[in-house]
Symmetry: C2
Subunit: 337 residues, 2 copies
DNA sequence: ATTCGTCAAGTAAGCGCTTTCAAGGAGTTT
DNA sequence: AAACTCCTTGAAAGCGCTTACTTGACGAAT
């Protein structure tokens, strides 16, 4: 609507512009603006005024160059659209802010190759890198471990990779979830899987397979960790005539329930459904979701601790897996007779 | 689990390290790595090998300094936890990537003052700034408009501010939504409001007030744009004995429905509920949500167009409001008799 | 009164890159 | 064979900051 021409003919003011305007040296301006050393109040005031008048913003590129650090860490994650990741990121963000670091968030809703490429080029820009539920192949991780820049792996554990890592225990609660289903009489179940590249998906499947001991007979059906993906995969899942659907996460559980309803099946009367993560929405849909409470706060805290240690060049010991609990709600019930 | 000491004793390799290793000048390394100019294949290969061997990553600070641009734009938004924002961001991200820009995402889940501070300090770091559903006071926006750095306002329109802006029409569809309710016989409704600082909230309310013409008698109840916030606000809303709840967005609709169910009321038999945004979840919960389809793709595209123009120092004309349509599903029904 | 010590302010050296400019080598033309 | 052009490569100048190091002024100590 409004016509607009920016007054960018005049280039951005630099520290020299400010110094001249205030009648002092650039060193003084720098000292005033970064508060690194005492300056006569009179001069300081003049510098502040000049900076304000010129709307001066220090170039973080120049600052980063001379300081040898941009005071920022990068976070790479598969899908910011999933509120789960965001909650973890938020917690790390707290820590980062407290320690004076900015956070660059990069979502690669693409292939694993993209993720690696993103990681590599972010490395030139940040002081540290946090990889959330990373799907980078082992060779890539090995290479990342050789970098002088600290890299932290979250929700992925790999032996033989020399990187600090922290993750939630996916295996145990998934096995417990199966135990819960077994006690309700379920035998034939379908696992609506996540990505094969995801460590969490492998762990969850491992938990399900372990539950064969309880008599759980599970089939995997490929899907993806989204509402729509699960929605679309339900039909195939039903060909296996399961009495329960174990979904990779809450989002897929939501999509599955929606599809089941569309097919005239009710949850949990006809089919039981479980999720994973305990998103806010899991407590508020109908039926409320039986799922696993993932301690996102802990996870975020511990991830940042590892990063902080890395940034300070300290030796770190990766903490043990963080336990997660099953929470039983109304989306699971006894096997229909 | 694994003990860990990083080999950061040796500092990061610089372009000089690579040049020495390859036996060429730094200029040649730069040319090879940035592909800016032709280099003999033999030399190029030597440079690439040296760079690989050293795991060299160019410092983006240095690069940004000399180029006068970090090739990145900042995006500031109120709450990344809301998938709506993310969808818009994703679309802008496409455009940015295509044009060779990286995107820094900053969520301020805090006060408006934080948002302004974030904007100011991001300005030193990016080539452009996109403000999503910004709540920065007018004075702040005026100041931002004075900066040489391009700033784009998304989902907020303010007269007298010399910034390019693009937004979805909130007013019209909200009025139509009320019309829909009116036709179903609703008169007493409660608006579960969003933040008073939000332009979108003001516009939506304006649409509701306009609907007095249809006989809609609306009361505002303070809430916030989250599941939990709406959940908590329902009891107060019910004191006004409404037959319908108009929620600020889909997330609040979700929370409201959950609370109503908890109180033994069913939707839409006892109370009708509407949302706004049409998140994926709106189509998949029970009852499916009557809401407004916000054209996020368009919005993201147009926002990036404005930003690109700004980055290229072109004159821009803010486009007209983007129309949004009401979609009627099962969360609204006739007034109970 | 002279010598120090102290401390505010300025001078200048780089941080790691890109890019202009100059140099030199190879290929073309006369 | 000389003169010219074209093209690859290197040398060096900054980009905008911070931070030793230096200077100089002023008060305290001798």
């Amino acid at each position: 609507m409004s016509q607009r021409t920016r007054a960018s003919a005049s280039r951005r003011p630099t520290i020299i512009t400010v110094a001249k305007a205030a009648g002092v040296s650039t060193a003084t301006v720098s000292r005033v603006l970064s508060g690194s050393s005492a300056v006569t109040p009179d001069l300081a005031a003049r510098v502040h005024k000049a900076a304000d008048d010129l709307s001066y913003r220090p170039s973080s590129a120049a600052r980063g160059l001379v300081r040898g650090s941009m005071r920022s860490v990068g976070v790479i994650l598969p899908d910011l659209a999933n509120a789960y990741f965001f909650d973890v990121v938020k917690q790390m963000h707290h820590g980062a802010t407290e320690d004076g670091y900015r956070m660059l968030i990069a979502d690669y809703s693409g292939t694993a190759a993209d993720e690696y490429a993103t990681a590599l080029d972010l490395l030139g820009q940040v002081d540290g890198l946090i990889l959330l539920s990373s799907r980078i192949p082992l060779a890539g991780l090995t290479e990342l471990a050789r970098q002088p820049t600290p890299v932290v792996l979250v929700n992925r554990i790999e032996r033989g990779i020399d990187l600090p890592m922290v993750a939630i225990d996916n295996f145990t609660p998934m096995m417990q979830l199966c135990g819960h289903l077994a006690r309700l009489g379920h035998r034939r179940v379908v696992y609506l899987a996540g990505s094969d590249l995801s460590w969490q998906n492998r762990e969850r499947w491992r938990g399900i397979e372990m539950a064969r001991a309880f008599g759980i007979d599970a089939v995997r059906v490929a899907s993806d960790a989204t509402i729509e993906g699960a929605h679309a995969a339900v039909e195939e899942a039903l060909t296996h005539e399961p009495t329960a659907l174990i979904c990779f996460n809450d989002l897929s559980a939501l999509g599955a329930i929606s599809r089941l309803r569309g097919l005239g099946l009710s949850v949990p009367e006809d089919v039981s459904v479980t999720g994973f993560d305990d998103l806010a929405v899991a407590r508020h849909i109908d039926p409320r979701l039986t799922t696993v409470v993932s301690p996102k706060i802990d996870l975020g805290d511990q991830a940042w601790s590892l990063m902080r240690a890395g940034l300070n060049d300290e030796t770190t010991v990766s903490p043990p897996l963080i336990p997660a609990d099953v929470v039983i709600r109304e989306s699971t019930g006894p096997v229909p007779s």
